[in-house]
Subunit: 79 residues, 2 copies
DNA sequence: TTGAGCTACAGACCATAATTAGCATTGCCG
DNA sequence: CGGCAATGCTAATTATGGTCTGTAGCTCAA
């Protein structure tokens, strides 16, 4: 998929929500990564809006954060 | 990403929700694809649980279906 | 200062998301 | 019957998701 401005927008908002909830849970990126079963640097990229995560990864991360997947997708879409 | 059983599970449930809501809206796969700006066959693959869609694609499809992205992610995660 | 914990970032790599074209099948309708 | 709409399915290609290694910067405590 091409990296359109909209692409960047949604991905960035998703990353912001991940970072926010991770910090509320007082987890480091590495702790979150380990719990989610993804790589350390990948969490960083997601939070910075550099990676367009898939459903499976979203579920992994939401599980590791102890929130439903819908929490991470909330309010990402509207302008 | 490896195709683990969990992978298949979440992806399949997501596809089921897409198909359900598409049919409730009385759209063909092709109409949905055009509205979402993705290819016809891709929608078919998603509904059949063969594709692990990304955030951007989820938002595109949810927009084309006229529902919030959270609607498509709802109840995908639990066993 | 020195060291430890946390994060940003770059580069290389493999698996796969997403595109596209093509053909087969099913069911419905004239 | 023939034709049309909708879907399933395959194969080939390109772009990118996700892994891994390593470097560098920051803050804070000893």
């Amino acid at each position: 998929m091409k990296t359109t401005p909209e692409t960047v927008k949604y991905v960035r908002r998703f990353g912001q929500r991940v970072r926010l909830i991770r910090q509320q849970n007082e987890l480091s990126q590495e702790e979150l990564a380990d719990r989610a079963g993804v790589h350390r640097t990948y969490i960083g990229m997601v939070e910075r809006g550099e990676k367009n995560a898939t459903i499976v990864t979203i579920v992994k991360i939401s599980g590791a954060l102890g929130v439903p997947a819908t929490e991470l997708v909330r309010e990402i879409e509207d302008a």
